[in-house]
Symmetry: D2
Subunit: 341 residues, 4 copies
Amino acid sequence: MRIGLLTGGGDCPGLNAAIRAVVKHALGEYGHTVIGFRNGWKGVASGDLQPMSRDDIRGVLDSGGTLLGTARFHPHRQEGGLEAVHATLEAERIEALICIGGDGTLHAASKVAESGVKVVAIPKTIDNDVAGTDRSIGFETAVHIATEAIDRIHTTAESHNRVMVIELMGREAGWIAVQAGIAGGAEVVLTPEQPFDIDRITAYLRHRHRAHANFSIVVVAEGAVPAANTSMEWQTKYGDFGEIVAGAVGEKVAAEIATRTGFDTRVTVLGHVQRGGTPLPSDRILGSRFGVAAVDAISTGHSEVMTALHGEDVVLVPLAEVAGKSKPVPQDLIRVASALA
Amino acid sequence: MRIGLLTGGGDCPGLNAAIRAVVKHALGEYGHTVIGFRNGWKGVASGDLQPMSRDDIRGVLDSGGTLLGTARFHPHRQEGGLEAVHATLEAERIEALICIGGDGTLHAASKVAESGVKVVAIPKTIDNDVAGTDRSIGFETAVHIATEAIDRIHTTAESHNRVMVIELMGREAGWIAVQAGIAGGAEVVLTPEQPFDIDRITAYLRHRHRAHANFSIVVVAEGAVPAANTSMEWQTKYGDFGEIVAGAVGEKVAAEIATRTGFDTRVTVLGHVQRGGTPLPSDRILGSRFGVAAVDAISTGHSEVMTALHGEDVVLVPLAEVAGKSKPVPQDLIRVASALA
Amino acid sequence: MRIGLLTGGGDCPGLNAAIRAVVKHALGEYGHTVIGFRNGWKGVASGDLQPMSRDDIRGVLDSGGTLLGTARFHPHRQEGGLEAVHATLEAERIEALICIGGDGTLHAASKVAESGVKVVAIPKTIDNDVAGTDRSIGFETAVHIATEAIDRIHTTAESHNRVMVIELMGREAGWIAVQAGIAGGAEVVLTPEQPFDIDRITAYLRHRHRAHANFSIVVVAEGAVPAANTSMEWQTKYGDFGEIVAGAVGEKVAAEIATRTGFDTRVTVLGHVQRGGTPLPSDRILGSRFGVAAVDAISTGHSEVMTALHGEDVVLVPLAEVAGKSKPVPQDLIRVASALA
Amino acid sequence: MRIGLLTGGGDCPGLNAAIRAVVKHALGEYGHTVIGFRNGWKGVASGDLQPMSRDDIRGVLDSGGTLLGTARFHPHRQEGGLEAVHATLEAERIEALICIGGDGTLHAASKVAESGVKVVAIPKTIDNDVAGTDRSIGFETAVHIATEAIDRIHTTAESHNRVMVIELMGREAGWIAVQAGIAGGAEVVLTPEQPFDIDRITAYLRHRHRAHANFSIVVVAEGAVPAANTSMEWQTKYGDFGEIVAGAVGEKVAAEIATRTGFDTRVTVLGHVQRGGTPLPSDRILGSRFGVAAVDAISTGHSEVMTALHGEDVVLVPLAEVAGKSKPVPQDLIRVASALA
């Protein structure tokens, strides 16, 4: 069987573990041929590819990023994109495609499957908001990096009696913010799921600093938005939150806290470091398991499915059930974050 | 409500997160009193205790070990042990007990509950073999430390063309060995679940070194045992495997590999470092969630239950269903380990 | 002898190791009394202090920040500042003062010494620009954190074919930028010591991406400035570089690269995480050695000296020789950075 | 110019940084040809070599081990060894040789230089005992790994009220033990430089545990030996310390402490993990600087010299002054270790 393989969307740690697993298992267990497409769907559309051998995946298990490269390119949103993809798949006689990616890639995968090529998706996103799976590749490493940053900022906050605001990734969902907030012992965690009330936040910080502490950590997901009752005032001051740019929310929240409380307040925008570097074991393992499961799925006739983690098990879920959906942070977790603040 | 709190069995990373969560949530949400017992059940039996305040848990979230201390003491296995425990609980008017521990602690908890004190258990063990929960506190950090060690040994194996044997913890179950083996890209993983055949192992290593590699990593759980067909010979040479001591298996396996293959072979016994140090975010979060859930459980009238992770949810399972049972590594994971070797 | 102890200026990893060494050695070897002042010179001026016992320094060796707190307060720059300092020192019968700090603290120390109190300084600054010593406390940990960030960003740069600009601390000197740049394999390193020519940089990047690479890492110290021939144009576009604010240089450089080359370019401003967290062993050791040496110096009659690292030895240098001076990155190191780009 | 390049002796982190620097600088700055010999002197003797291009050194800066491989092979100690080396060097028209290694390699380099080939050595050893340089490649990373292990063991020691003995590398000199001991806050540090008195150690531990602590960390270099007054008894019990094998000293010291004090005592032998894994920035920088300096030295006519770190400068020292010598830990450092115990 000739299997195509690609990684799409933003890079993250654990992609190489999945690529390695697909290649090792497809070649070793089934004798398939694996064709790697470079730079995601862009490489499928343009025919930029390489046959994958065991040599290509040597020593990649503990490396971040993706050896295949990636790009934010979605064939179904480009004029002629899907046609170009189909042309390449046909020319290369690709019978099945394993697509490692986030929501955009899942959507593209559904579209491509309509043409008859078998498609199995593997979910990856540091934001952890792909529906239908407990976890996606890259999330736990991102939480680790974010928590490490909070730990570091903690010592400065305490030594200087400061409020430290740290903005983390998470445009649609606050998974990284909530988990790193719990793990780092943040006093306040702001997420896209729960519009925040700046008055309540500053009241809480004033109370805390009066009562028993001289510093605070405020974690802000990049997609956090102010609640309706305060958003008017914010819009006047800072413009429309619909056009949030990196760093914007964190800086605004810090500015408001500083102005309203008079506390020495600083902001850090963690940025791209959250997607890089050596993957945690849990992401290497998840990538490895998903890679093996995807090859097994394709080899046993499955299509239009996504590998998923359900508890301790790796299962297959229909793409139709998950593409286009999102997975918000559950109330339970948000409650733990605020109970321990 | 007066709640007793203890940590029993071996220490591990994430215990302080659980202690912190219990104290913060019990005091902040419910106004309970929390009495901490020192050194596990030993402290209950001897009345060694301290009321816990918010000051006691400041700054502990990212620290390893347990601030309450622990000991390998089981009241139900000591003459008069349970009586002493009950005497203290009565004298201190303890209405409920939160016990953080492994299988021994769960068992003791069941016994103590017979007297009428409410009991909620929180599972912790780096070995991950507590039944009824996807994960126990401490496991993921142990896997991380073990994987880091394999990563380090990898570079020496390659640079010197060696077979490196590394012995990891896991007396009854091979969870650390299998997960660190997958994450570290080990060629061979030996677990208590699957008796090993030294002939097959050495044949595989010879084949590998002839075909395409000049080094190998062999991961051995401390409870790994030889298969029946080879055990006779091993018994003659090394004595009864029933009396395995730390380091024994790794050294024997390394000696056999060296003798049979002639490859330069070295052994490392990772030992106590696997239970220590800064907890990973996932163990801090699990400890925090379990701590909050245990307090909620007790406050709403539950008893003889254990907090457990099922997929993304924290749930309560009856102690009777899990105490005395063990959770072996599933075949699925073992298969991934060998598929990617 | 009654010794005062303070930490001044920005916090950094390794301060607690120095504090611990001063207290342990002063109490254990000489039987001195140690009075800790809170929040740097501010605490001396206001009489905010605590006698230090062995209990106060338990468990702090591997923690970041300073348990004494710090503040950016310089008594010699405040009206009545020095007088308040002297009043406290006299009231508390302080015979000698150990000041851990950067250039501002060294300067204040010189002024205070004029009154007759013995003064020994210990140099700390993540910027490493204190003159007279090979290294200051905090520098190596900051380089480690910065390098780790570059390593992480590297995988994203490669996976997405991007130019990644990373702004690091270093207002007066580019020590962190140069060392992290060498360690992280950066293609371009911009420092305050060498005004940069944006034309040369973009020409080099274009050449590199044409010839053999599809990504680049550009490290920018926050105090980097454009060379005279281009600064005019920059001033028109971005305003005066004399008023650089955090993030400004990195963002400007990234904007210019993106505009001139058309490459996908992103910027990360690492910020406060560079000063925090667990100190590297080398900073714990340096702090410990400086602390012991400072106590020895005071106990043997020295004053107006700074502990310093010269090669493998800890020595004393006169404050007069180092206060007010700065230590730029040597050409040798800058040459290595560019030779390996 | 045709330059040969090899890494000899045990592997360590930072070797690849040195190899990369030699290749990049020799090719980029001077247009030399670089021939890499595989597996140290063994590859020179047998003619196992590869011309080095920029492709060979891509992505290796942050990797441990040596991409050239290494072996514990010394041509001057083998019958016909030097002749074979000379034959290869002549056949390959090698004009100069850059040898990265420890004392054995320095010695071999001196011998090879007698034949007229220019030789420049680069010192590496995790033991840090090469004379003539402040630091050798690999040392700081080894100290980091060892300190991390002590940090981890610390939490178990405290939680279980134990004496934890940890054996670290260092057969001839106790550099790792002393520096990791200071950084990890060990109570006792045993080195080859100072024969130890087990009576004094156990008396100290008993005193400490009576007075104010319930746990202790004892660091033992693998080459530590008992003092004359106790060695007789030890010899009777454990045999000749002249034949120390890995793990032996640590286990014996732990056994004696347990017997004499009755404290719960455990031993960990850290072993091979100390030589592996991602190099710290300081080792990447040292390797990079030494690599550039070695190429400069050869290109400007130097021979029979070693690159060395003196304070902040990289200098050249004559091989004759350093080969065969060793660098013990200075009393100053040992004093700091015991002052802070």
